[in-house]
């Protein structure tokens, strides 16, 4: 009870302090909006968020793909391999619905990937749609062996990091600067990175779901 009151007071004080801080800030603060828009013509894309993610701060994105990869490794390291994964829902309606939905969803993610260069969208949104598609396929009971035992599946998971490394090597070779894209090739590089990221994000998120879903009910 004392801990409860103590924590409550502490959080309240934190709230008060932070509120004061926020209110003390000048109305219009200086961000990087202008700096970004000045360099947009060199970035290779016209969606500023994509430009930041895949060009100006592409290094952050590289490390972030590492975070996603590590999470999957951690999840794998605790998973016991199971022979048969029973789907949750066995219904022919769902199966047929899936037959229509899956191509539509894949089309949507391809569209998001493509549009990401100019408008809201991009690898992260497209990749998560891919993984949602995978989950849908899995839940509607389609047989689909995507276990990480297969080299090909592991390759899909690692695609994004591999392409990042490849492009890093190319840029280091061209200008001795990591991930410096020559303006004329920038859009091609970014598209390559985005396409690879879409695949990896899609497969990785799907596998995260699959591993949690197929944890055993009791210890072996």
């Amino acid at each position: 009870m004392i801990i409860r009151i103590f924590t409550f007071i502490l959080t309240l004080l934190l709230f008060a302090g932070l509120t004061y801080t926020v209110l003390s800030l000048p109305k219009q603060t200086k961000g990087l909006g202008e700096t970004v828009s000045l360099q947009m013509h060199n970035s290779g894309v016209s969606n500023p968020v994509t430009a930041v993610l895949m060009n100006f701060r592409a290094y952050d994105t590289l490390l972030e793909m590492g975070v996603l990869f590590i999470a999957l490794l951690g999840v794998y390291s605790l998973s016991t391999s199971q022979k048969e994964k029973k789907p949750l829902l066995q219904s022919s309606v769902l199966k047929r619905l899936g037959g229509i939905l899956v191509p539509l969803l894949l089309l949507l993610s391809a569209y998001l990937l493509w549009i990401g260069a100019h408008a809201p969208g991009g690898a992260f949104q497209a990749g998560s749609i891919v993984s949602a598609t995978g989950i849908l396929i899995f839940l509607s009971g389609w047989k689909l062996d995507l276990s990480a035992r297969h080299f090909f599946v592991r390759l899909l998971i690692g695609t994004s990091l591999l392409v990042f490394l490849l492009i890093s090597a190319v840029t280091l070779f061209l200008s001795h600067t990591l991930l410096e894209f020559p303006p004329s090739y920038a859009s091609a590089f970014i598209f390559l990175l985005e396409a690879a990221a879409t695949v990896s994000i899609g497969v990785t998120l799907f596998h995260l779901f699959l591993s949690i879903f197929s944890q055993p009910k009791e210890e072996h």
């Binding site: 290094y59 952050d60 490390l63």
Partner: protein, 478 residues
């Protein structure tokens, strides 16, 4: 060269994941290559002084800058050294199934640490913190016992909380001063509420991650239950990584804010940590827990040094870095020895160590030598660190701190000799034992000898650390 320190472990980690058959050889080759890369970065640094790498060619504030100076270099060197040693140890330590996931996680952890020590960007720090946080939680859980899972879970929650508090601070700084680059921020920062709030949030988050008393509650269960090579890197480097960020932030951003109360605050917490951690280490009955509590105490020393350094005593910076280095080496030696004993006996109860001194002389020697450095006995690396620390405390006329340092040394002697004493005695019940591969004994011995040797090479090491004047000491040659 420096970017390869990040790219190479990522590449190696991917390869160990793609081709698990050769994971051990790929892993060890990658680690050795990383070690040699550090040497080439060092020669570049010594030839031309500290330097930047503007990622993407944009430069701050738009892009991210990497920066190499003496401080980042010694941290990179330490990382490569401990990662390689503990990696060789791990090659024998893990079962086949564990090593399948150990190697990629390990190499990504190294990539994350290298990225962290090179970064100059406070948001990039956040990403690297998450990278090493998730990787070390996953590695802790590798032993797959009840205690390890609980330790890993608690550690994961703590590290996520710490990162979020840190990120909120980043948000405030970004909107207050319009950049996430440390150098640009340091030119713009002024004493306004938003800077204070950011300092509080970021420091709180990082203190939680570096387990400063009283935020150390999560450390002993996690460090004591993790697999031995993982415990070694957790205590040696992961804790230091958040302290490193803390250093960078305070030196360039928060020092200009008035910090007198914070000096006292850090000194008090540090002193409590030294006493509390040492006393708890003394009463532990299990070896790994004893070593883990000793880490709590050693973190206390680091913050005492930090507080003195903030007070303008520049020799305290040398004390801080020297204590970090020698503690990292000695503590990884201790954890690896504990791993050997755990493997040998199947338990790590201190009273039942059962004539280890005769049966595992190499491990016992490693333990004793590492212990010498932890206590701070003359000529070891730990001694140099404590010597500077005492000097700083005397310069500052802080008698209380002097007393705590001496008391901490006595208590450390107490818990180290307590363990050593039981290595000669016979256990009440005879126990079954297992063979220890030679390399698992040599690695901790090597680390322990390095911790001692640090004491002999203090002058060149300090010159290296101060290359590029990372602590902004006025009057030093830049």
């Amino acid at each position: 060269m420096e970017v390869f320190l990040i790219l190479l472990p990522i590449f190696g980690g991917l390869l160990t994941f793609l081709i698990p058959k050769f994971n051990k050889s790929i892993g060890i080759i990658t680690l050795i290559l990383t070690l040699s890369l550090v040497i080439s970065v060092a020669s570049q640094l010594l030839a031309g002084g500290s330097y930047y790498h503007l990622l993407g060619g944009w430069g701050a504030p738009l892009g991210i800058n990497l920066y190499v100076d003496g401080l980042s270099l010694v941290m990179l060197g330490l990382t490569a050294l401990i990662a390689t040693g503990a990696g060789i140890y791990a090659g024998k330590y893990f079962t086949h199934k564990q090593s399948l996931w150990f190697w990629p996680l390990w190499l990504f952890l190294i990539a994350g640490l290298n990225a962290l020590f090179l970064s100059q960007d406070i948001f990039n720090f956040y990403v690297t913190l998450e990278l090493i946080g998730l990787a070390s939680a996953a590695l802790t859980a590798l032993s797959d016992t009840k205690e390890a899972l609980r330790g890993a879970m608690r550690y994961l929650l703590v590290t996520l909380l710490g990162s979020l508090a840190y990120l909120l601070g980043v948000a405030l700084l970004y909107h207050g001063f319009g950049s996430v680059d440390i150098v640009i921020l340091s030119k713009r920062i002024e004493s306004v509420p938003v800077a204070w709030a950011a300092m509080g949030l970021m420091s709180a988050g990082l203190l939680l991650k570096s387990a400063l008393f009283p935020l150390h509650f999560w450390l002993p269960p996690a460090h004591a239950s993790a697999p031995a090579p993982v415990s070694a890197i957790l205590s040696a480097l992961i804790i230091k990584a958040s302290i490193y960020i803390q250093l960078r932030l305070w030196i360039s951003l928060f020092l200009p804010l008035e910090s007198f109360y914070f000096e006292i605050f850090f000194a008090l917490l540090g002193s409590f940590a030294v006493v509390w951690g040492s006393v708890l280490a003394l009463v532990q009955t299990r070896l790994k827990l004893l070593i883990a509590y000793s880490t709590v105490a050693q973190v206390g020393y680091l913050f005492i040094a930090f507080s003195l350094a903030l007070g303008g005593i520049s020799v305290a910076w040398s004390a801080l870095v020297y204590l970090m280095l020698s503690h990292a080496l000695a503590k990884s030696a201790l954890f690896l020895v504990a791993g050997n004993l755990l493997h040998f006996h199947g338990h790590d109860r201190i009273v039942d160590l059962d004539r280890i001194a005769q049966r595992l002389p190499l491990s016992t020697t490693a333990f004793a030598l590492a212990g010498v450095s932890i206590i701070g006995l003359p000529l070891s690396g730990g001694f140099i660190g404590k010597w500077f620390l005492l000097e700083a405390s005397l310069k500052n006329n802080s008698w209380g701190i002097t007393l705590v340092i001496l008391l901490g040394g006595l208590l450390a002697a107490g818990y180290i000799f307590k363990v050593l004493g039981f290595t000669f005695t016979k256990a009440a019940v005879a126990q079954e034992t297992k063979q220890i591969p030679l390399s698992m004994e040599l690695v901790p011995l090597f680390f322990a000898i390095m911790a001692i040797l640090l004491g002999f090479f203090a002058t060149p090491m300090l010159a290296l650390i101060h290359t590029g004047n990372p602590f902004g000491i006025i009057g030093a040659t830049p």
